[in-house]
């Protein structure tokens, strides 16, 4: 079995699938997370082996920072 950890949630899945397939299996979007195994970043096509524990890291940020995009002048 493999274990996926994401924002306090945990899932156990069968070993032998790619990281991308595992992410999809638990209902997450592969474009929105990165996969870390044993403290190392791994690519989506990495096959997860029995006993692997991977941490998924969310990459989406938003909110206030993006207000800077309404450019033109600093105080409209």
């Amino acid at each position: 079995m493999i274990k996926l950890v994401y924002r306090g949630k945990e899932w156990e899945l069968k070993a032998g699938m790619t990281a991308r397939a595992a992410i999809k299996k638990v209902g997450l979007d592969p474009e929105s997370v990165l996969v870390v195994r044993d403290g190392q970043l791994v690519t989506d096509d990495t096959i997860l082996k029995d006993g692997d524990e991977v941490r998924l890291i969310a990459v989406i940020s938003g909110g206030a920072q993006n207000c800077f995009h309404f450019e033109g002048c600093p105080g409209r």
């Binding site: 989406i60 206030a64 920072q65 207000c67 995009h69 033109g72 600093p74 105080g75």
Partner: protein, 291 residues
């Protein structure tokens, strides 16, 4: 990186990331090796990655951290700690802090409570834009650099298209020239990177960035748009890149959004002197009730 049909090891990804940033800076004339550049840093992955890359490339950069007193100061303290740690680990990583509450008397959240009906994110953006521009102009920086990535740009483009905001569509760009003596030149050297790539770069460098999102950004529309675009990207590799980069190309080649309605008529705020489209006070000074 499915959109590039490319998979790299950590070492080569780092090299690729740095050289691609340099190419973007040169190709879009963002700033030069002799220029002093102010980098807006929040403690998040994008801004710390940008600071790191610009230092490695040898640019004359200085960080600017704006303390917004978010979540009763706790979130801001945590993000400031990441900035301080980053700076302590690198030679020449100097930075300045502007504390909004100490400087102006109120935090952004206190302002938002007073101004019911205005979203915190909107106020926060306004305050940050004003301060970043003020510091860049007052201290004579040639450019203000921010860590906006392609996902940020695509989400804003999506929003502007949904609303057909032609003025914003005319001005959204990787580099914004200074069109007024008190308007800083702005550059986004990461505008071609997906958000996953900037996060991967930060992780590979061992940068301790703040993972948690700003507590006020929950439910923000930009996050919804990013999620929608990511779903599209998952189904159609390169969709985000195509959406944003083709917009820039088509606008340039076909002269879209270049009519008189899209031109900004900038005056100066009667209080602070910063450029504004408003007749008397800029939005920032109106916000604080200045006169």
């Amino acid at each position: 990186m499915r959109q590039h049909r490319l998979a790299l090891c950590g070492e080569h990804f780092t090299e690729w990331f740095i050289s691609r940033t340099q190419r973007a800076i040169e190709r879009y004339g963002m700033f030069g090796p002799e220029d002093r550049v102010l980098v807006a840093v929040s403690g998040g992955k994008d801004s710390l990655a940008l600071w790191d890359v610009l230092l490695r490339l040898g640019y004359d950069v200085e960080g600017l951290y704006i303390n917004l007193a978010i979540a009763d100061q706790q979130y801001s303290e945590e993000s400031k700690a990441r900035v301080e740690q980053f700076a302590s680990e690198r030679s020449g990583a100097d930075f300045q802090i502007v504390d909004v509450k100490k400087t102006y008397g109120k935090s952004v959240l206190e302002l938002a409570r007073e101004r019911r009906g205005r979203e915190v994110c909107s106020l926060c953006g306004l305050v940050k834009r004003h301060i970043m521009n003020r510091v860049a102009c007052e201290r004579g920086f040639a450019a203000l650099a921010t860590g906006h990535n392609l996902d940020d740009e695509a989400a804003v483009l999506f929003q502007n298209v949904l609303r057909w905001q032609t003025g914003y569509l005319a001005r959204q760009a990787p580099v914004l020239p200074s069109t007024h003596p008190r308007l800083a030149r702005k550059a986004k050297p990461f505008f071609r990177f997906y958000e996953r790539e900037t996060a991967a770069y930060a992780l590979l460098q061992g940068t301790d960035y703040i993972y948690e999102e700003c507590p006020h950004s929950k439910g923000a529309t930009t996050i919804l748009y990013k999620e929608l675009l990511n779903r599209l990207e998952t189904r159609s590799r390169g969709a985000k890149q195509q959406f944003y980069l083709s917009f820039l190309k088509t606008r340039r080649e076909e002269g879209l959004f270049s009519g008189p309605r899209e031109k900004l008529d900038l005056g100066e705020c009667e209080n602070c002197g910063q450029p504004t489209t408003a007749p008397a006070l800029c939005a920032f000074c109106r916000l604080w009730g200045m006169s």
